[in-house]
């Protein structure tokens, strides 16, 4: 671990710094803007940018503008596209940030938000809710997202309990996560085999979908997103110190175990909430933080905030592809994030010679 830690420290070398550069933030904001504008104006309804803009301004308090859109078109803008974009921004930001936080906390480049079994736990929760016919599958306060959320958090708790017994190193926690995920996936498969009539519903959920029915989903995710954001971003420096090793960190006045627990809990909370609302969207938590690291530097003080911004842009763009490439049919977003994201990441990885985790 020490060798890894040293190389991690080396990659966060002072020449690249630990300070977030203005240009990096500006680039990410431009990407977000492009993705949002495209997402708001693309779809089966051909709506002009100007009209969409007017309609959005009209939605603000004290502003009255007639966008000239029909009632249905207004609903498309304010009740379908806008909440979907808002949800995409938050889910992308949350999953990317959680991935970056896990990677920092566990000092492991392969860590992603699903490392401690969130995906498997949420999958089992959702499968049970669907097979038991709880809820109708629409809306944020439906039984399916609630069961998925509970399942994801229970899985993390299991992993933590098991990993803690096995020892205090991050590795034992990761192994516990693998065991818990395998166990819960087996449970899910068992439930599904006995209820094969709901295979379609369950797999639709597993492959992920940033679909909304109005504002329920984005509003449900908002508080978790904010908490995760505020907590994790505060620990950028602590995670940088952690990268040199637990003992060294302790000598520098950081309590490694405490930092790790807080960061992992905050990241898990956000990831579980995101998964509950949109299903399992893979690769985002790995691809986005690593791409940011490759392009802008490995310090967590850079990686964490930029993961939020680029993750948000990436998810909105991926969702745009998911809902337009086979239009009017929809493609599950998990397919897009993996199919587009993985090769893109491979190219970035290859192009960067000095990337040392």
């Amino acid at each position: 671990m020490t060798a890894d830690a040293q190389s991690a420290e080396a990659s966060a070398d002072p020449s690249r710094g630990t300070r977030l550069s203005f240009s990096a933030v500006a680039i990410s904001v431009v990407w977000i803007a492009i993705a949002v504008v495209l997402a708001m104006t693309t779809g089966p309804f051909d709506l002009a940018v100007v009209d969409v803009g007017k309609q959005l301004l009209d939605g603000l308090p004290f502003i009255e503008i007639d966008s000239g859109l029909t009632t249905t078109e207004r609903a498309i803008v304010t009740q379908i596209r806008l909440p979907r974009v808002a949800l995409g921004l938050m889910v992308g930001a949350t999953l990317s940030l959680s991935g970056a936080a896990y990677q920092g906390a566990f000092r492991n480049p392969l860590a992603d938000p699903y490392l401690l079994g969130i995906a498997a736990g949420a999958g089992l929760g959702a499968t049970i809710a669907i097979t038991e016919g709880l809820g109708d599958g629409r809306g944020a306060f439906d039984a399916v997202p609630l069961a998925a959320f509970a399942g994801g958090l229970i899985a993390v708790w299991f992993s933590y309990a098991a990993g803690h017994i096995g020892g205090r190193s991050p590795v034992s926690l990761i192994l516990a996560g693998v065991a818990v995920a395998s166990f819960l996936t087996a449970c899910q498969t068992y439930v599904l085999q006995a209820n094969s009539d709901v295979i379609r519903e369950v797999y639709t959920w597993i492959l992920g979908r940033v679909s909304t029915s109005g504002w329920g989903e984005p509003l449900l995710l908002l508080p978790y997103f904010v908490v995760t954001l505020l907590v994790v971003l505060r620990y950028g420096r602590a995670l940088d110190v952690l990268a040199v090793g637990d003992e060294e960190a302790a000598s520098l006045g950081i309590r490694p175990q405490r930092v790790r627990v807080i960061v992992v809990i905050a990241a898990s909370l956000g990831a579980a909430a995101a998964v509950a609302v949109t299903g399992l969207i893979g690769f985002v938590g790995i691809i986005v933080p690593h791409t940011v690291r490759l392009l802008f530097g490995a310090s967590n003080r850079i990686v964490l905030p930029l993961s939020v911004l680029f993750g948000a842009a990436f998810m909105v763009a991926a969702d745009l592809v998911a809902r337009t490439i086979m239009s009017p049919a929809e493609l599950p977003i998990g397919v897009v994030t993996a199919f587009v994201g993985a090769p893109f990441f491979a190219v970035v990885l290859r192009a960067s010679r000095r990337y040392v985790w």
């Binding site: 009740q79 629409r138 094969s196 379609r200 639709t204 239009s327 009017p328 049919a329």
Partner: protein, 293 residues
């Protein structure tokens, strides 16, 4: 790639799970004419169960799978229709097993059990052929012929009284995830009898999705169908009110005109005798809509 593979797998499973994959029409085994009629039948197909009871062969049925819920006095067991267990089936000592999936058919035949494997047909003549086949296999030939005649007559009558519905569009909802089906499926074929146009056809023009595309909500709103048929009223508890409450859906022609039809999930996905009831539901709403217009 893994995810893409998963998607393909899902689509395959979906086609099987829904049992409407009309491409699977090849029989696993023909029932030879000289076979004596079956007298212990296990049905692992909800549709076949409905047919067997409708032609009077219900007394021969010793076990049906967990989805065979109609008629409700059938001998329902926990046998699985899509993940069948050979030994569990064999324990009922059947001489005929009727099933939708091709899984374990060879194993059952190795045990000397006759297997009739039938998935959703492409059209009504396929439905009649399956009813007659089950009639031959059970010795209820005359009753099967009578049922077919009855269904043919009722469908013909419905078509004869058909209001001019050409040009009306419809959306058939399979689930709240907005999965739908195209005209190439058996259910789509029934709507075709009435001259209705399916809004989902453009979503799967070449049948690459097996006739079951997942639509985007915006597309449905843009298509503004004249009629909405809900085949998720039981499983997902959808109804005209929940449809009207969805953001943006309230202004749809179908919602405004009261043309949201709440179908029975099972009736709208099986190709047994109750397709007549399904066709009647379509005819009824067409009569209402055209009278109002």
């Amino acid at each position: 790639m893994k995810k893409l593979f998963a998607l393909l797998l899902v689509m395959a499973m979906f086609a099987v799970a829904c049992g409407d994959d009309e491409t699977v029409v090849e029989p696993v085994a023909e029932t030879p004419a000289e076979d004596p009629p079956a007298d212990r039948i296990v049905s692992l197909s909800a549709t076949a169960t409905e047919i067997l009871f409708a032609i009077g062969a219900g007394d021969l049925v010793v076990a049906v799978d967990s989805y065979s819920n109609y008629p409700d006095y059938g001998p329902i067991t926990d046998l699985q229709a899509f993940t069948p267990n050979v030994e569990a089936i064999a324990s009922y000592e059947p001489d005929l097993v009727v099933m939708q999936t091709t899984a374990v058919a060879a194993e059952l035949e190795a045990l000397g059990i006759t297997v009739i494997q039938r998935d959703a047909p492409a059209d009504f003549s396929g439905v009649y052929a399956q009813i007659e086949e089950l009639g031959r296999a059970t010795g209820f030939i005359a009753q099967a012929a009578e049922l077919v005649l009855e269904m043919e007559t009722e469908i013909t009558d419905l078509q004869a009284d058909l209001p001019d519905a050409d040009g009306l569009t419809y959306y058939h909802e399979l689930g709240t995830d907005l999965y739908s089906l195209t005209s190439s499926t058996f259910v789509g074929e029934i709507y075709g009898l009435f001259g209705l146009t399916n809004i989902a056809d453009g979503a799967d023009p070449d049948g690459a999705l097996g006739g079951y595309p997942q639509l985007s909500e915006e597309f449905i709103l843009g298509a503004n169908p004249d009629l909405i048929f809900l085949a998720d009223t039981i499983f997902a508890e959808q109804n005209a009110a929940t449809i009207a409450a969805r953001p943006g859906w309230g202004d749809l022609t179908a919602v405004q005109g009261g043309a949201v039809v709440e179908l029975d999930d099972d009736v709208a996905s099986r190709w047994g005798p109750r397709v007549v009831a399904f066709a009647e539901a379509i005819a009824d709403v067409l009569a209402e809509v055209t009278a109002a217009a």
